[in-house]
Amino acid sequence: MRIVIADDEMLLREGVARLLIDAGIEVVGTAGDGAELERLADAHHPDVAIVDIRMPPTFTDEGLLATRRLRAAHPGIGVLVLSHYLDSRYAVELLGSFPGGAGYLLKDRVSDVAVLTDALARLAAGECVVDPTIVARLMSRPTREELPLSAREREVLALIAEGRSNAAICAALFLSPKTVEAHVSHVFAKLELDDSPEDHRRVLATLRYLRSDR
């Protein structure tokens, strides 16, 4: 897997690069702003780009804009957006504009190699990634705590919101594929959500549901 890292903070991008290299992942380049990122992507055609959401010049959401341009130039590329912000706004916006292969993690997570490599692998495979902290926060909202779901079903819902595939859910909860499928159907039925096949649409639907108060 070939990665590029874009972050205006040099310490951070060099640190993450070393972390990944130590873990055996190829880092083909690091960038300090959106323009440099695009140049690197054009030159090396990486599989996934790790992008800080805040970059020069305005330090608001240049990262998001850069990811869109990246996707337009390199349709298959995976994008992992890093942010300090706990709220789900950007996650929903990101997933809404990408048909898979997009992920949103909190900056804290980058130092956790296991989480990082797992996320990168999933993105390279075209799945979605949403930081579990964000999902947990959404699920602990008062209106969402009283969902008509069993404890097990809640666990499944959280994992769906995190972007996990059914196979990953099986592995995480030690359940058989059939059981997982049944849980998923129940959850979607009870919450009156459209049961899409496992792709970014079900993540998006779940996130949107969790953000609302229906």
């Binding site: 993450v16 972390l19 706004r89």
Partner: protein
């Protein structure tokens, strides 16, 4: 209460000119009085003389009708009457008017019908001096003596041009030997030289013509250079004077070209000049009479003024008194000029484009400017009237000035208050960004280094350290968000409220959202109202409503409280929210309706 002595000064649009003292120079006035009385006496005597001469002059082959006689005498009478009126009304040009009247009577003194030699001689010497005097009057009219040296020189030249040939003729003309047997003797005769006398006479005509044209030229120049306001005032007098001088000029031209044969033309023209001079007298008197009539008419209104009308009504009262609807009052404060309600306006005393308007400064007892009245030329140009109005209005002006100053300072304070709140918010925003860009980034990098170290050297201490640093990062994030939520600055009130709802531990429903971005002060205050209410008051659930209508953003937080303590302690307006909302000109209301606490803020937004 001691009577207030107000001094009114006038400006001509290019700054304040002279300040006229109310307790003026007494000696000057006495001299004027004496001079005036003497001139009047002389002029009356001259009139009588003129009448006698003209009447007796019918013996000559100069056919004149009663009408012509009446007109010529009438001109002198009119000028004397006008001069008396001007003298009584303390106009500075009064003496000049009388002088012109007296000079006009002398025109006929060099006549065979003159009763004695003295009169005859004076007539020879000064018979034409009425011309430069008329020019002087016209140039001097309009509130003061000739302002420019050039005008003075012109008058002096005209006098010289008129007197020199007359004097020369007087010292060389012997009427007897020139064929006028009925004429009295010429007391000024020095050398009998008829040819010199004749040449002097011819030169007199030419010089008379040139000085007339010169005077008319200077008059025209003065008129053209005057401001439109001044032109209105001097047009009548300048016009009639110019006509009289012009007719005289034609007469001179006729004499110069045709000699004695021009006599009939000259007579007719002289009648025209007399009519024009009557016009001058009428013009001078008319303005004086009009001002006096207006003053009488306004006496009652002036007494109304002293009863201090309310703010805004003072201007209307003054406008009615001065018959000038365009009147404006402004108050110069220490650092600015304000109108009656305290709004800052440009200083009307600074020279501006509009020269039809004048600024009159009302000066208070201590010499400082109390108020500035900006008006059209009119009644307020009369010194006496202006002083009377200023005295009557002094109390009302001071009153209104105090109110205007108060309103102006209050407005300052409000502006300062709003700026304080805005700067406070900007500061917090800056701190949040610094935290986010600085400390948070560094802690994440630190976490990274620790994990890298852990990967190389497994150490339980490191594991503990990593956990602690993780907690620190969470705290940092909370702190930054508490300082200023990034969503508020980036995406506005709606987004910030959504984030608030997402992170709240009670169910919150949000209805309505502003359709557009508003000013940072309004958005931040609205957000703070919601956030602070939710933080300070324990509610079980909340509904947040945001509506914008008619330039007002209305934000309402309401919900059932979790226990009775939620209702306690609203004296400080929900933790200082009242102050903050008030600082940007809004209002805060706290209600308890049907067991629900409602906090509503209404914020002005343009």
């Amino acid at each position: 209460m001691a009577a207030r002595e107000l001094i009114a000064a006038r400006s001509d649009g290019s700054g304040v000119t002279a300040v006229r003292g109310v307790a003026g120079a007494t000696r000057h006035r006495t001299a004027r009085r004496v001079g005036g009385v003497a001139l009047v006496a002389g002029a009356v005597a001259g009139c009588v003389m003129m009448w006698i001469i003209v009447d007796h002059g019918g013996a000559f082959a100069l056919a004149r009708g009663t009408f012509a006689v009446a007109v010529e005498v009438g001109a002198a009478v009119a000028l004397i009457v006008a001069g008396v009126i001007a003298l009584v009304r303390r106009r500075p040009f009064a003496l000049l008017v009388l002088g012109v009247g007296a000079a006009w009577t002398m025109r006929e003194w060099a006549n065979p019908a003159a009763p004695n030699a003295l009169v005859f001689t004076l007539g020879l010497l000064l018979g034409t001096i009425w011309l430069p005097l008329t020019g002087w009057l016209a140039l001097a009219y309009s509130r003061g003596l000739p302002e420019r040296g050039r005008d003075r020189v012109a008058v002096a030249l005209a006098v010289a041009a008129v007197l020199a040939p007359a004097f020369l003729r007087a010292v060389t003309l012997d009427p007897q030997s020139s064929g006028c047997l009925a004429c009295p003797a010429n007391l000024a005769l020095i050398v009998d030289s008829p040819s010199v006398a004749r040449s002097a006479g011819d030169a007199g005509a030419v010089l008379g013509l040139t000085s007339s044209l010169m005077l008319i030229g200077f008059l025209a120049d003065r008129f053209l250079r005057a401001s439109p306001a001044d032109r209105l005032l001097i047009s009548l007098v300048a016009g009639t004077s110019a006509i009289s001088i012009g007719l005289a000029a034609i007469g001179f031209a006729a004499i110069a070209s045709m000699g004695l044969a021009a006599a009939p033309v000259s007579r007719t023209l002289s009648g025209g000049v007399a009519v024009a001079l009557i016009g001058v007298a009428v013009a001078v008197s008319w303005e004086i009479v009009r001002a006096a009539a207006a003053r009488r008419r306004s006496a009652r209104l002036v007494s109304d003024l002293s009863r201090a009308p309310g703010p805004g009504r003072l201007r209307d009262a003054l406008a009615a008194i001065t018959h000038d609807e365009s009147l404006e009052i402004s108050y110069p404060l220490a650092d600015r000029v304000v109108d009656a309600v305290g709004r800052a306006i440009p200083d009307p005393r600074a020279s501006g484009e509009d020269r039809m308007r004048r600024a009159t400064v009302a000066v208070g007892a201590d010499g400082a400017a109390l108020a500035v009245l900006t008006h059209r030329p009119g009644l307020l140009d009369d010194d006496g009237f202006r002083d009377a109005v200023a005295r009557a209005a002094s109390l009302a002006l001071e009153h209104e000035r105090l109110q205007a100053e108060l309103a102006s300072r209050v407005s300052d304070l409000q502006g300062s208050r709003a700026r304080l709140v805005t700067s406070f918010d900007s500061e917090r925003r800056r701190l949040e960004r610094d935290l986010h860009d600085g400390a948070q980034q560094q802690v994440v990098a630190l976490l990274l280094k620790l994990r890298l170290a852990l990967a190389r050297h497994p150490d339980p201490e490191l594991v503990w350290a990593i956990a602690e640093v993780g907690l620190a990062l969470d705290e940092l994030r909370e702190l930054a968000h508490g300082l200023y939520p990034a969503a508020l600055a980036e995406d506005g009130l709606g987004a910030a409220l959504e984030v608030l709802r997402e992170g709240a531990d009670i169910p919150i429903r949000i209805s309505g959202a502003p359709g557009r971005r508003l000013s940072s002060a309004v958005e931040t205050t609205a957000y703070v109202v919601v956030a602070e209410t939710l933080r300070a008051r324990r509610l079980r659930s909340a509904v947040v409503d945001v509506t914008e209508a008619g330039g007002v953003l209305s934000v309402t937080v309401s919900g059932p409280p979790d226990g009775p303590e939620a209702f306690a302690g609203f004296g400080d307006g929900v933790g200082g929210l009242g102050d903050r909302v008030g600082a940007i000109g809004g209002g805060l209301r706290v209600d308890v309706v049907a067991d629900a606490l409602t906090v509503q803020a209404e914020l002005p937004c343009e």
